[in-house]
């Protein structure tokens, strides 16, 4: 028999994972930088909101049918879906065709995407599946035009090494990303959700770890390690929204929940601690309720649950909490709450249910030391009500408040014939909706007598950030029943040659890449910047030479050129993006500068000229191109003056300005620079001139 779980819910971060039987695994979703998975469209995101979508993009309006819930019965969420008459408008950007519109069958997998995921599988030492079968995963929120997401299991049973230990990888899948929501508009006839299809069908890798994560901090570490490993392929998309982490969390006295929306890794430990606290709280609450009702206690470990006992408790809970909805609107006609009065005048009703024996159990708002809301049943009841689309509920543990007076509370208690230990919940919404919402509330309150249910929860987000690290219930955890085979795509056989080819050419890890840069005399900053911008291959190519016959260029100078604005300056006014600047052009120009063939000032204009007008790097020998380049430099006056000439000009300017030097010392540098440069024409290298000038002035000062 397991021992009673210990820990203070008021200090979630101090809960002991090992003692509580903590289990945790991660699911990482990362977008791949290849074309779409099952159409041959490019993966491109168009940064438009609903107001900026071009008029010419076609739109179609659709509905989805979900006549049965995933559990095979029509649940409250499904009934709400049916009642709210939701429709979807799909906006069709240039990278969405008939396949994205669900107007034509899909094509087989994008070959690159499969290779990338096989590469990741090999990096995690996973066992590949040799016959790849696309599955359809039912999705009812409209984010897929088809009503399902296509997903393929690629490999199983791998591992990742984290600093705190090995974490198993259960499955590695290749999935389609969903459509991007633009807007939701409500009207009396129903709700319309607008989606754009630019993201729909982009490939995603899903990596699900085993529940080997040991602590909340270890979850963050695992997410970091996995993210780095995936990025090491250099074939993933970067930037906001390109990677998402879901957390699977349970403690022994709770059960598994899947938490979505943890985009920021730093929040992960806190979100997990708060979930542990929530599970512990709900367990203790269940036992409090059971003890007051003289029911057998809930065992501290879910593995010890006995179905007959739970059935008995369920019968008792149902009889204590009957679903008896009262219309209390007439008690609130003069309510101080403007929200309540406005809603009533717009045809909504105030309806309520009694929760017998729940006074003090629903709880009121309390914060932990970090400002996070502590777990309480009230939030769970509100989440349940939101399944019916209502904004929230009022309950007696926090009333009178929100403009609801003592008198009104008393009247409600009287109407519902409540005794002191009883609680009530109110909902303000159109009658059909608050009935659904209160039904959900009563169902959830009955659930409070039991262990928490397996469900999907969402991190509460405010202004794009987790509000405090707490979560709300979204839907029951889907089972395998959501999936069935995609019959439009044949099974894809992966050959051993393909696998071997991938395994023999695994990408370098970040550490190996860092190692490679060690001997290049880069600063630490440069090295980090080169690695994070994934420019190390380019750096090495330039530093080693050989790119289209180019001589090696000094690594440090080459590193600054590829990191600073040179390419942007070069592309300016050409109508091309800076990413289009050819590397052979840049290496040649930097080579010429480092060899004093051109001045620093000449680099950008001359390289631009070489790019746009010069001999082609693939067809012309390096020496010949360099000759052309040198000639252009001479014509434009960008060749450096020889040192004698510079020295002579400096001497001359100094002798003409002895007074100024006497007065200002080094302060005369600026004006004198200008004078020397003027004497030398455009041909002087600023750096050389300033060095010579500084030397002379120093000599004079001494």
């Amino acid at each position: 028999m397991a021992i009673e779980p210990r820990g203070d819910i008021g200090n979630p971060q101090d809960l002991d994972p090992t003692a509580l039987g903590f289990m945790c695994g991660l699911e990482i979703h990362q977008q791949l930088a290849t074309g779409k998975l099952h159409s041959r469209m490019p993966s491109e995101l168009f940064d438009y909101g609903i107001a900026e979508v071009p008029d010419g993009w076609p739109r179609s309006s659709r509905r989805l049918r979900a006549s049965r819930g995933e559990a095979g019965q029509i649940d409250i969420a499904a009934r709400f879906e049916h009642r709210r008459n939701r429709s979807f408008v799909y906006v069709q950007p240039p990278n969405a065709g008939l396949i994205e519109m669900d107007e034509a069958p899909p094509l087989e997998h994008d070959g690159d995407a499969v290779d990338v995921v096989l590469t990741m599988a090999a990096m995690m030492d996973a066992k590949p599946v040799s016959a790849l079968q696309v599955m359809r995963k039912t999705v009812v929120d409209g984010s897929n035009t088809s009503g399902f997401q296509r997903t393929t299991l690629i490999a199983t049973d791998g591992v990742v090494d984290t600093p705190s230990g090995v974490v198993g990888v259960d499955v590695i899948c290749l999935e389609e990303d969903s459509a991007r929501k633009l807007d939701t508009q409500s009207s009396s006839s129903g709700e319309t959700v607008f989606y754009t299809l630019d993201r729909l069908g982009m490939p995603l890798v899903e990596v699900a770890t085993a529940p080997d994560v040991q602590t909340p901090e270890h979850a963050k570490e695992t997410a970091l390690t996995l993210g780095t490993l995936l990025r090491d392929t250099r074939r993933v998309r970067r930037g906001l929204g390109s990677i998402r982490q879901d957390l699977n969390v349970s403690i022994a006295c709770g059960d598994r929940v899947e938490i979505k929306g943890c985009q920021d890794l730093d929040w992960i430990p806190r979100i997990i601690s708060l979930e542990m606290a929530r599970q512990l709280h709900m367990y203790r609450l269940a036992n409090e309720l059971r003890s007051e009702a003289n029911l057998p206690p809930l065992p501290p470990d879910r593995d010890d649950d006995k179905i007959p006992v739970e059935n008995r408790v369920s019968v008792a809970a149902t009889s204590r909490l009957s679903l008896n909805i009262h219309d209390l609107s007439d008690r609130f006609e003069t309510c101080e709450s403007e929200m309540v009065r406005t809603s009533l005048s717009e045809g909504s009703r105030v309806q309520g249910v009694a929760l017998s024996g729940f006074a003090g159990k629903i709880g009121s708002k309390r914060l932990d030391s970090d400002g996070a809301q502590l777990p309480r049943l009230g939030r769970e009841l509100a989440s349940a009500a939101r399944l019916a689309g209502v904004a929230g509920i009022f309950h007696s543990d926090e009333l009178p408040a929100y403009g609801i007076s003592e008198t009104e509370v008393a009247e409600v208690r009287q109407t519902l014939s409540l005794e002191e230990p009883d609680a009530f919940v109110l909902c303000v919404a159109p009658a059909w909706q608050s009935e659904l919402a209160l039904e959900a509330v009563v169902e959830r309150a009955r659930g409070a007598y039991h262990r928490i249910t397996r469900e999907v929860r969402n991190v509460v987000i405010r202004k794009g950030q987790p509000a405090d690290g707490t979560t709300t219930a979204m839907r029951p955890l889907p089972g395998g029943a959501r999936m069935y085979p995609e019959t439009d795509i044949p099974i894809l056989k992966v050959s051993i040659e393909r696998w071997d080819g991938i395994r023999d050419n695994l990408p370098l890890s970040t550490e190996q890449r860092r190692e490679r840069l060690q001997n290049l005399e880069l600063s630490q900053n440069q090295m980090d910047a080169i690695l994070s911008s994934e420019m190390d291959d380019i750096l090495i190519m330039g530093a080693e030479g050989g790119l289209c016959g180019c001589k090696p260029v000094p690594a440090k100078a080459w590193a600054s050129t590829i990191l600073d604005n040179t390419r942007a300056d070069l592309a300016e006014g050409t109508g091309h993006d800076e990413s289009k600047v050819p590397w052979p052009v840049l290496t040649l120009a930097v080579h010429a500068r480092e060899e004093d063939i051109i001045t620093r000032e000449g680099l950008v204009p001359l390289a631009r000229k070489l790019w746009l007008e010069g001999p082609s790097s693939t067809e012309t020998e390096f020496e010949e191109r360099l000759e052309w380049f040198t000639q252009q430099a001479e014509e434009a006056g960008f060749t450096p003056a020889d040192t004698g000439e510079v020295e002579a000009a400096v001497e001359e300017v100094i002798s003409e300005n002895m007074d100024m030097i006497g007065e200002r010392g080094m302060g005369a540098m600026g004006p004198l620079m200008g004078a020397v440069m003027q004497k030398l024409g455009g041909s002087a290298d600023g750096k050389t001139v300033s060095e010579a000038l500084r030397r002379k002035i120093t000599e004079l000062d001494n």
């Binding site: 079968q133 009503g147 999936m483």
Partner: protein, 448 residues
């Protein structure tokens, strides 16, 4: 060879992979392909391996978890009009086994009403199963079975009939219902609707339910058929969006796209009506009213002669005379040419370098002279056959090739020809029938 247990048996499968042995536990499934073993994992994925990769298969003790879905019980409202639902196959009446992905027919009324509960407030449904066919396998004998089933439905008190059908040849069967019931000038005793779906019903985005609701709504509540254009109608999505289905004349409709929801369009005419599907349920918006009075009610449909054989040819650079000769020699009852443009065939040789053209011309002229039936329709689908515009057209008319002036779209023309041949009244009667507007296929007011 791997000894793979019965579907539904829990198994532990050990397979060799290139990265070592892997173990998978799940339920055995029928193989997803030749020489594969397939199982469903607990997480829902189906996973397959070639036989040669299988190291061991261990049957687990637990009882197989196959749950037969119980037949749902649905009560029907006896005050609603009776509609027969005639199942012939196709995507619309299919259901998916979510474990294997296997598709099977769904045609019991309870299953259907359970899947599309909106139907309960539209009509009382009686389902009739004619079998599950790919629509491309349908032959004239199946048209006769459909006609028979519609006839039985009306005699059992149905106000309308909905035939669920694969979409590929749905328009051809629709034409067959029209000519069968109204080809001799009558009208069917009730409404006949053909419908199908372009997206399978397993997916949330399927068009099946809206198409079916609209079709049943028309069958139950549409206007009385006049026998002209409306003896049978085709009801499917009007556009890529949900919410509206078009009601198209069964005698002049065509599937024009292989995959879109709005694959069906009327040819040379406008839709008869639209069925809108709003929050308040389906409603009918009629198009232009028919200028024709209702015809007398037919007692029974005229069946198609199942021994009739028609040879079809496409007029283009590869139409070879020996193929045509073979059909003539084999005693086909008629030759139907899909001509180019206004209805032309490759029968002239202006450069004197293409003797096959001349041969074809002589062959067809001889065949027509010998009472052979030769018809031309147009590959352009839309627009009239007009053989007065060019010399060649006039030559063709002189040779005895039938078709001038017709607006009948090609697939409807094939059925019309079969209908006329089934009357067995000789070549001149076919020519006369071809000129007429039997069921609305050849409307005098066609401009679209």
């Amino acid at each position: 060879m791997v000894d793979w247990p019965d579907p539904g048996t829990p198994v532990k499968l050990t397979v060799k992979t290139w990265a070592g042995l892997a173990e998978h536990t799940g339920l055995a499934l029928p193989p997803a392909g030749p020489k594969l073993v397939t199982l469903k994992l607990i997480n829902g994925y189906n996973i397959s391996f070639p036989h040669s990769y299988v190291e061991s298969v261990e049957e687990l003790d637990e009882a197989p978890m196959i749950e037969e879905e119980p037949e749902p019980e649905v009560e029907q409202d006896e005050s609603l009009p009776l509609v027969h639902l005639i199942h012939t196959g196709g995507t619309i009446a299919s259901k998916v086994d979510y474990r294997t992905g296997a598709v099977s027919a769904r045609f019991t009324p309870n299953e259907l009403l359970d899947a599309v509960p909106e139907l309960r407030s539209v009509a009382r449904i009686r389902a009739v199963n004619l079998g599950s066919m790919w629509s491309d396998d349908i032959r004239p004998r199946h048209w006769n079975r459909m006609l028979q089933a519609t006839s039985e439905a009306f005699s059992e008190g149905a106000v309308g009939v909905v035939i669920t059908h694969g979409t590929d040849t749905l328009h051809t069967s629709a034409a067959a219902m029209s000519y069968g019931w109204a080809g001799r000038g009558g009208r069917p005793p009730g409404r006949i609707v053909l419908t199908g779906s372009q997206r399978s019903p397993d997916r949330g985005s399927s068009d099946a339910a809206e198409n079916l609701i609209s079709a049943v709504h028309w069958a139950a509540n549409g206007p009385e058929p006049t026998g002209y254009r409306d003896s049978s109608v085709v009801v499917l999505h009007a556009g890529s969006s949900d919410g509206s289905c078009s009601v198209l004349p069964g005698c002049a409709t065509r599937k024009y796209h292989s995959s879109r929801r709005d694959a069906f369009k009327p040819i040379n005419q406008e839709p008869i009506a639209h069925v809108s599907l709003g929050p308040e349920g389906p409603s009918i918006e009629m198009g232009e009213p028919s200028a024709f009075d209702a015809r007398p009610e037919a007692i029974a449909p005229m069946m198609f002669d199942e021994s009739t054989r028609i040879a079809q040819f496409v007029a283009d650079a590869h139409l070879q005379p020996d193929m045509v000769q073979a059909a003539i020699d084999a005693d086909y009852d008629a030759l139907l040419f899909h001509g180019t443009g206004l209805g032309h065939l490759p029968i002239a040789d202006p450069l004197e370098d293409s003797p096959e053209n001349t041969r074809l011309r002589i062959m067809l002229a001889d065949h027509c002279a010998g009472e052979g039936v030769v018809i031309v329709v147009t590959q352009t689908i839309h627009g009239p056959i007009h053989m007065d515009v060019y010399d060649k057209g006039r030559d063709q008319q002189e040779m005895g090739i039938i078709g001038h002036g017709s607006l009948c779209p090609p697939s409807s023309a094939l059925v019309k020809l079969h209908h006329l041949l089934s009357r067995d009244e000789g070549r001149d009667a076919v020519a006369e029938g071809w000129d007429s507007d039997l069921v609305g296929e050849n409307p005098p007011d066609a401009f679209s």
